[in-house]
Symmetry: C2
């Protein structure tokens, strides 16, 4: 671990997977019975190694080498094509996809150890990979047998790429308004697709011999709005009789976006059917079901964006900590103006420690939350049938929460990392400047922060009369002060429980606003409320981690007297000791934000609605 | 005003200058008796025009055209040299400097209208200008008559450039540890300077025929630490017998920093005296007084950085508002799923309005605070002698507060602006991406956010037993609920007064921590406390603005019934009506952060100090 290279926090990932969620127990489920706990560990280790050794070294080069369009095709930076080939060959693309189509079939909560590392190492390349896998899985879920045979394995093994074509120049967030048209061809089983799509990540590249676009379009005569949208497979090259890429399918790259970050991720404007030949599109299962189908990918992608933020924040924390350990500057404050005092590393300065602890608490809290959602996803799909509903509730409720926490708190952690570095943090010689730029997108794509918050407040909190929230409260009620072995953790849990009560109050206030005043007033603090959910849940996982750490320290005979001295000497004691401190820090230095949010909601001031802007 | 061009909020600047601080009254002071109120207005208008018409059009080009070193000299982007020449000719460089040396001698609080506009339009070029003026004024203050004659007018009129050379590769924040050496020459009145300086803004450029470095160095045999540092004039070219640039003075550009933002500001590593010839340096008034002298420039520069943040935030707000007014997306939430409803501009969506109002409140609150500090500066220097002490207290206390508020809240406003724009905000086609990158530096240079906070907590709050804080409380006590004409403003002032009490509690808590536990514990939340001061003072100015606006509305017969309808029609009514809403928004949607900060401080949890990082 140093201040410029990328590295992954293997120990913390192992802790969250094996000690907090005990993912090894997933091997007892039918779905994962072919795996052993050792398999899980081995795959995660290999994936992290791949991230560090293959993806990370080309990340800066990708940032510095502008993508370009040559003869109508996107040319990627040197090394990217080779890295793609290696990741495809190693099976990383379809790590959670079904083995029958070339995937590895890993549980999400296990795969995350790999995926957060990929994102931290090189968000540009991994965006293209993730969307390929997501697009392939739409075909797995909604394609005909012939479509599955034609596309799935080739995509999941990385031989072909894939995209999701949703936004258009005039419509993105309001997906129900898209205008791309689909007309049934007179002969053949295809439709002719015509329209312009924007913000298409991986819209074109030189990684693969074909690129399979999943395109939302409106069939002639379909009802207006979201209920008239269908989903089509539109390959860059049509398939010939042998199923290989043949004639071009009239999908043209209009331009590449010139972006603040993830510069090696080709974000394209695509024109479909603009030529004389027409773009052939193949309808997925049934007309006018496109939006619901698309949401399968979108829900997955939202979680993926969350771990983009996590991966960046984790790397930033490690770089900043390494820098703080080596950079000598000034005299420790307790020595006042004693010029004879030995100079300190900046790690000794309280303000720097405070920033680093906030970064650490964000990283580890968000890691708990995101792995939690992934773990619940595994259980909702493959766990004991009687508890699947409970876990699905948690997944549905927490997906927008985790997306925003990963995106926005992740960005905040990177921002703090730059601050720890000071002047050098503002240079592109250190990786944090690029990380700040790359991570900014996370709060925008796959639904902005505001749209996630609306999903939480107007949908997830309303479903089944608020039962999803009850499921969360039930989950949170598992954490009680008397589980603590030390006074300090007990007090932290009590403090946290107050914030849970405060959250219930805030949810009730928002509900009252909706009833008394209307939807506009009730959603005004939706983004804040989403932050509130994020803070309470991140603290929940951190405090559970603290309980586990207390037990571990007790087993080592180190719980009493705070274990601080032993922590200086012993790496494992240090890990657990710091875990408890991290939970305290989150509880007392980040969670108080919930007081501000509650006050904002309860003020019932709607100046932002009343102003004439 | 549109979503991509730069524009200045003339109306709000006029309001803050003429209606809030009534800067026209400064013409009654001897120092400014040559000016009329009309002069002030005219100069500010011309300056804003210059910012919009000369600086802004080359801002993006400066971002895109890498600076380079050619034959040892920095080459700036096309158009920059010409813009410098025009700004020098028009007298903008020395706008607040003394007329006897070519300055315009304007009060700071008047000049700010120009300076925030320059920074918003082109922070790269203006950084070089501001430092030239600051360096020249060090010579005005501490130079010999001969030094003044040789340098001041040429610098203040922009014929020569100027820099402040403080940091070195190993020392920046800990300025007391710098190692650059000065040895008295055997013949002549100069010293030979030897050392390497880093982070030198405007360290070299092609704007001027000479560049005058103000260099902190240690004279042989000087005491260690801050008390052994002297300040020298080190020109790039030595002056010949006629006082013109002659032989090179052995100041070499080692390299340019490759930065995240302000890319057209040449940030140099300079080697002084590395060649055989030696760098001649001319000592300013007395040995070992360098640090105190430098602080004259630094205090000014801190405020300047604050308006860098303000300028960027103001421009970002205007771009984001313009975009929100024109971008149509989705259906207003009150129409639910009614597909027949007319599509809305995103300005109609509550979450977007909330973000815009937060931006507006930050911009206008920070504007109040910064112009306030500038106004107090004018009065502390030139006002009635009996109140100078009071105003100097306010300046001293609020300078670090304003620096952090401008830098960090300014950055936050730009971040929100990107969020309002969504996907296009992430592209470099819109100006907000560059603004985010450019503004990031504000929290780092001229002392990081953490160092400002330490200045506040360990110095400004301690001076004369806490009298500076008492001066602030005295100032704040001028705002009382009964001054309000409406219930809503009265309630807002009452709410704000609670936060003032909370601030007093927090300051007392920090003092207790220092006494009971020690300096490390007491500074752990220093940055938070500085935010707290910023929030309370920004709200103070906004609420005073609200009182003025109530009066203005009353005069127009529009105070009753909230003036909302009239505000739709009448631009002036709208301005005042929105002012009141902005003050409310700050009070109820931003100021509640003070509850969180108070809770953090009062928790007395020091996990960040206890963790073994």
């Amino acid at each position: 671990m140093n201040s410029t290279d990328f590295s992954v926090d293997r120990r913390d990932i192992r802790f969250v997977q094996q000690e907090l969620f005990e993912v090894q127990r997933l091997t007892q489920l039918d779905q994962f019975s072919d795996f052993t706990a050792d398999d899980f560990q081995l795959i995660v280790n290999e994936g992290i190694k791949f991230a560090e050794e293959v993806y990370a070294p080309i990340n800066k080069l990708g940032d510095e080498t502008p993508l370009r369009v040559e003869n109508g095709h996107v040319v990627t930076p040197p090394g990217f094509r080779e890295a793609w080939a290696r990741h495809a060959e190693a099976g990383w693309l379809g790590i959670t996809s079904k083995p029958e189509w070339g995937g590895q079939g890993l549980p999400m909560s296990v795969a995350l150890g790999v995926l957060e590392s990929f994102y931290g190492a090189n968000p540009s390349i991994y965006t293209t990979s993730m969307l390929t896998d997501g697009a392939a899985n739409l075909i797995v879920s909604f394609g005909s047998d012939a479509q599955k045979r034609a596309f799935c394995e080739k995509m999941i093994t990385g031989q072909w790429g894939g995209t999701m074509c949703l936004s258009e120049p005039n419509f993105g967030s309001a997906v129900g308004d898209i205008t791309t048209k689909a007309v049934k061809a007179r002969t053949g089983d295809h439709y002719l697709i015509k329209g312009t799509k924007q913000w298409i990540s991986g819209g074109d590249h030189d990684f693969t011999e074909n690129n399979i676009h999943l395109v939302l379009a409106r069939i002639e005569g379909a009802p207006p709005g979201p209920k008239g949208i269908s989903l089509f497979i539109v390959p860059k090259y049509r398939l010939d009789a042998q199923g290989n890429p043949g004639a071009p399918n009239d999908v043209a790259v209009v331009r590449l976006e010139h972006k603040l970050g993830i510069k090696a991720s080709p974000t394209c404007v695509l024109e479909l059917g603009g030529g004389s030949d027409g773009s052939h599109g193949y309808l997925l299962e049934g007309e006018n079901r496109g939006l619901a189908q698309m949401f399968q990918l979108m829900n997955h992608a939202r979680l993926v964006v969350a771990y983009q933020g996590l991966g960046a924040a984790s790397a930033a924390y490690r770089n900043a900590l390494a820098y703080a350990r080596e950079r000598v500057q000034g005299i420790p404050i307790e020595y006042g103006k004693d010029r004879q005092a030995e100079r300190a590393t900046i790690l000794q300065h309280p303000d720097v420690r405070q920033m680093l602890m906030t970064m650490k608490a964000i990283v580890e809290g968000v890691r708990g939350l995101i792995y939690g959602v992934a773990y619940y996803t595994d259980l909702a799909k493959y766990g004991p049938p009687e508890s699947r509903g409970h876990y699905q509730d948690l997944v549905d409720l927490l997906t927008p929460v985790a997306k925003n926490a990963g995106a926005d708190q992740g960005f905040e952690a990177v921002r703090l990392g730059i601050q720890v570095l000071g002047g050098v943090g503002f240079t592109e010689e250190f990786p944090l400047a690029q990380a700040l730029r790359d991570t900014k997108i996370a709060s925008i794509y796959e639904g902005t922060t505001g749209i996630q918050a609306l999903d939480l407040v107007t949908r997830k909190l309303q479903l089944r009369g608020g039962e999803l929230f009850q499921s969360l409260l039930k989950e949170l009620s598992k954490l009680q002060p008397d589980a603590a072995r030390s006074v300090s953790v007990r007090h932290a849990i009590m403090e946290w429980r107050e914030s849970v009560e405060r959250l219930q109050g805030a949810v009730a206030s928002v509900r009252n606003l909706a009833e008394e005043l209307g939807p506009r007033e009730s959603v005004l603090n939706a983004t804040d409320l989403c932050v509130f959910f994020g803070d309470v849940t991140c603290a929940y996982y951190l405090l559970r981690m603290a309980l586990i750490s207390e037990r571990a320290l007790e087993e080592k005979g180190q719980l009493d007297n705070g274990a601080r001295e032993a922590a200086e000497e012993d790496e494992e004691v240090r890990f657990y000791y710091n875990k408890i401190k991290t939970a305290e820090h989150y509880t007392y230095q980040i969670l108080p934000r919930s007081r501000a949010i509650a006050a904002k909601i309860q003020s019932r001031n709607f100046a932002a609605l009343d102003a004439v802007l």
